[in-house]
Symmetry: C2
Subunit: 433 residues, 2 copies
Amino acid sequence: MLNQVKLVKKASLSLAYTKTADKNNLLALIAKNLAKNKQKIIKANLIDQAKAKHLLNSGELTKPLLERLILNDEKIAQLSNYCEAVANLADPAAKVLSKTMLDDGLVLTKITEPFGVIASIFESRPEVVVQVASLALKSGNGVILKGGSEAKHTNQCLSQIIKESLANYNLADALVLIETRGQVSEILAMEEHIDLIIPRGSNQFVKYIQDNTRIPVMGHSGGVCHVYVAANANLAEALNIVIDSKTDYPSACNAVETLLLDEKIAKDFLAKFLLSPKIRNIKLFADRSASEMITAKGVVVKIIENDWEKEYNDLAISIKLVKGIDEAITHINKHGSKHTDSILTENSKEALKFLNQVDSASVVHNASTRFADGFVFGLGAEVGISTGKYHARGPVGLEGLVTTKWRLVGKGHIKGDYGAAPKKSFKHQNLLT
Amino acid sequence: MLNQVKLVKKASLSLAYTKTADKNNLLALIAKNLAKNKQKIIKANLIDQAKAKHLLNSGELTKPLLERLILNDEKIAQLSNYCEAVANLADPAAKVLSKTMLDDGLVLTKITEPFGVIASIFESRPEVVVQVASLALKSGNGVILKGGSEAKHTNQCLSQIIKESLANYNLADALVLIETRGQVSEILAMEEHIDLIIPRGSNQFVKYIQDNTRIPVMGHSGGVCHVYVAANANLAEALNIVIDSKTDYPSACNAVETLLLDEKIAKDFLAKFLLSPKIRNIKLFADRSASEMITAKGVVVKIIENDWEKEYNDLAISIKLVKGIDEAITHINKHGSKHTDSILTENSKEALKFLNQVDSASVVHNASTRFADGFVFGLGAEVGISTGKYHARGPVGLEGLVTTKWRLVGKGHIKGDYGAAPKKSFKHQNLLT
């Protein structure tokens, strides 16, 4: 496999400075070839589906996994559209960030450059092959894909279509599909040849990747998001936002998991909340004080003693009373996953304190946590959401897939000529604008 | 120690959004207090010096280490000037990078924000206390310092002066000095409380840090820089640049270690090179072909068989013949440390290929590798040089000490209202011009 990866690295050096127009034409060609080979893709997918149904019957696979596996006409058309949409996004590479004349004839440029080789390790959904490949190729990166074995035939078929399109540009080596599970640990150890890993899958899966490689990993392993309803919240608005944050898409990483209620409004808020028909299917967990208020309204609740880091990914929520904003901020910074947290208040000074001091990638005031998303944020496409602070943070688009490089061009300049007078000194003249 | 670190984290939350003017006044106060307490600093330093001299006599300490330890009047004045210079640099924090109206009343801002807590682990030079603290504080970060035991009294004295200055702003907790060696491994394990580690010291030291923590480490463990003299180089210029790259400051990380000579000009270049009086003290190591040419001129050389990753940090250089630019690029990408590499040629097409395909933080054309430096590059001050691609790359200034945060402010907006018609769609209007 090392040889395959080395070939990807080599191809990535050519791809890195391929013209934007060529990269866009390549993506258009992939879109066209996906449409053209629709029957072939569906045929491959049916083989995977048949195998998965067997595993479902024997209990070795869950129904959601089977559902995520399916590629039909509509989904294939969406993938073609996706490639075309990525072609239309601005090219993040080869952007000149600064240009400085250090001295006559000595010019320094800071330029964006692709990482090199990106490895994407993901579970069942075969769409990821096309989604990640199109983002990686648009940003000029070579790409290594490792999908789940349950989607083996579909992944092979999709990769082959992309590789054939790449071959038109003499870049067939820029993508490789890795197939056996043992190869994951090999990938994780290839820090000399792989520049970035993007895992997609369950929290445990991402955590495993993070814990077992020295290659930078872009992503998040947890989504314990909070909504804090402050003493000065507009309670009608708050009710609306809390319910949306929980129910709009409960299994999303930006769904709220813990509701912090200022003790001054807890009773009033809960009275409205517990009456809402929309919360009927939500399982409630709460601290003792909140539990008493909830039980008093005849609603079932389970008491939480200490476990404030639960990510339900489901119609369930933890509720805790807090004395005020300081306790809310401390709780979130201690128990949250640095993903997305929201404050609901009409007090702008408190809102600013929350936005400043909550140490999370996305902080929200008077709106739902569910907005934290690359498409919503206007990034065009999303590689994932990063809860790390190093490099990209929060929803990550194409710009997260490039690094920078310094280029210095001189005319025989040597350092020994510069220093205190009578030596020369630097001019540092900005050549941009 | 955990409690001390937690206090730094807490103080960093206040520091993060301290006004630029206050941070600048703080730095001016530190500069003033350093000057005012000069005698105290020198007294503390003399204690460390006395102890170090004992260790020198017993062979437990080297002379360069003792020299690096010394703080005199001039160096203390330089430290005060340094703080004032950092005060004059632009504030990298709280910069609005983008501002987008997602929909009426729903505004998203991407803003720069300090990392939080930076830990600096360094060896003997006590200046690092002031240098790192001023950069960390200016960028709004709390800072943990761990210096070498040989500078214990000096480090304590300098830290105390900074802490007293911080106390004027109720921020005394924002800096802590850690003193015992065992605490390093504790620091490396505190990934929940420390956001970034900046090690300074030998390559082995930095490598040890990188290998033993999951906290992001900013720096470099190697500086195997190359100069490639291509077939079309201006040989007089090349001679000048090669000698500067090696001799201007041989122990610097951006000094050249390996000289790659195109076989078409190798003989001519070596003839000039070996005649230069400036190379008399340089020890030569070379492959067989180059060694033959060197020996033919009556100059002593040692043959290198395979070890092309030697970092001499001294007046010594490896020399290798290559068939052309492709072999040069392949050699550098395989054996270099992704720090700084230079091509000398009058062929602009080859130069561009080199600048594009050499996978290093700084790439240079027709100039010395020695220019790769934060001050030279116009960054004002340098935290270090990063050979990683994730986050900052190459010389890193204040901008490398900040991350970004997304802030979303709404008026009760919920995600469930947005989607395909008849639902609302996003407007994504850029509010920055």
